[in-house]
Symmetry: C2
Subunit: 149 residues, 2 copies
C-alpha cells in the first residue's frame, strides 16, 4: 500500500487592474511555496471593477474551488469592503507581517487583502507566507469570530 | 437677521477594549478639530467583542446620530470586517495618511478603522484629520462605490 500523493491546495486570487501586477507576483510566489494558484483575473490590460472581482473570489470560496484566497486592488480598501459583504468571507487588509499573523490568530481570516500602491512586493510576499502558515488561536477569539458569520 | 451658528458635526466612535486607549486619544483630537465626538464605548476596563461594537456604530449611522464614524480594535481587522457586513457602512482600515486619503477619494468611505496595536497615535490622528477633510473624487469611482451598496 503506497501513500497517495496529496494534491497541492488551491489558493484563489482576484484583483482589479490596479492590483494585477502584485497579483501576478503572488501567483508566482504561491507556486514557489508549493500551492496551486487559481487566478480568477483580471490582468493589467483589462479593466475590472473591484466589487466584481471580490464577488468572483467569494463565489470560488462558496463553491469549494478554494478554501482560502487573496485579493488585491490599488489600496486594498475597496476590494476588502466588497469581499466582507459576503458572510462566508473574512477578508483582512494587511500592510505588514504582524497584521497577517494577527488576522489568522484572532480573526481566522480566509482572505488576505493587499494594496499594490501601498506596500512593496517583498512585504506582500511575506504577508502571504505568514497568512498561509499561521493557525487560528481559537479560545476567547472563537465566539467573536462566530459573531461575524 | 443674524446667522444661526451651525452645530458641530457629530462623529461616532466605537472600539473594543483593545482599542479603547486610541479611541480616547481620537475623542480628544476630534474636539480639538471642532467636531462633536459621539463615544459609543467601550472603555479599556470593560471588555466588549469587536463585532458588537461595530454593530453599535453601524446603528448610529443608520439612525442618523452621525454621518461618519471611527472604529478601533487591536489590529483594526476584526472590527472592519464586522462593520462591512452592513451595506450602509464603507469601513476603511488605514495604516497611514495615504490610505486615509485614498479611501475618501476612491471609496467614499464613511468609517475609518484603525488598529491600536499596529499604528502610533500621531499617525492615527493624521489619518483621522485626512479622513475628515478629503472629498470623494466621484467620476469613474462612483459606479464602483454604487456596487458596494
Amino acid at each position: 500500500m503506497s501513500a497517495v500523493p496529496s494534491q497541492p491546495e488551491a489558493i484563489a486570487l482576484a484583483s482589479d487592474h490596479a492590483g494585477a501586477h502584485l497579483k501576478a507576483t503572488l501567483v508566482a510566489e504561491l507556486e514557489r511555496l508549493g500551492f496551486r494558484p487559481l487566478d480568477l483575473g483580471t490582468d493589467a490590460a483589462t479593466p475590472a471593477d473591484y466589487p466584481d472581482m471580490a464577488d468572483r473570489l467569494a463565489a470560488a470560496l462558496a463553491d469549494g474551488r478554494a478554501r482560502r484566497g487573496v485579493l488585491v486592488c490599488g489600496s486594498g480598501i475597496g476590494i476588502s469592503i466588497a469581499a466582507n459583504r459576503h458572510r462566508h468571507v473574512r477578508a483582512a487588509l494587511c500592510h505588514d507581517v504582524t497584521g497577517a499573523r494577527l488576522c489568522r490568530e484572532h480573526n481566522d481570516a480566509n482572505v488576505l487583502a493587499l494594496g499594490e500602491r501601498l506596500i512593496g512586493a517583498e512585504v506582500a510576499k511575506e504577508c502571504l507566507a505568514t497568512f498561509l502558515s499561521t493557525e487560528f488561536a481559537g479560545g476567547r477569539h472563537a465566539p467573536r469570530v462566530a459573531k461575524l458569520g
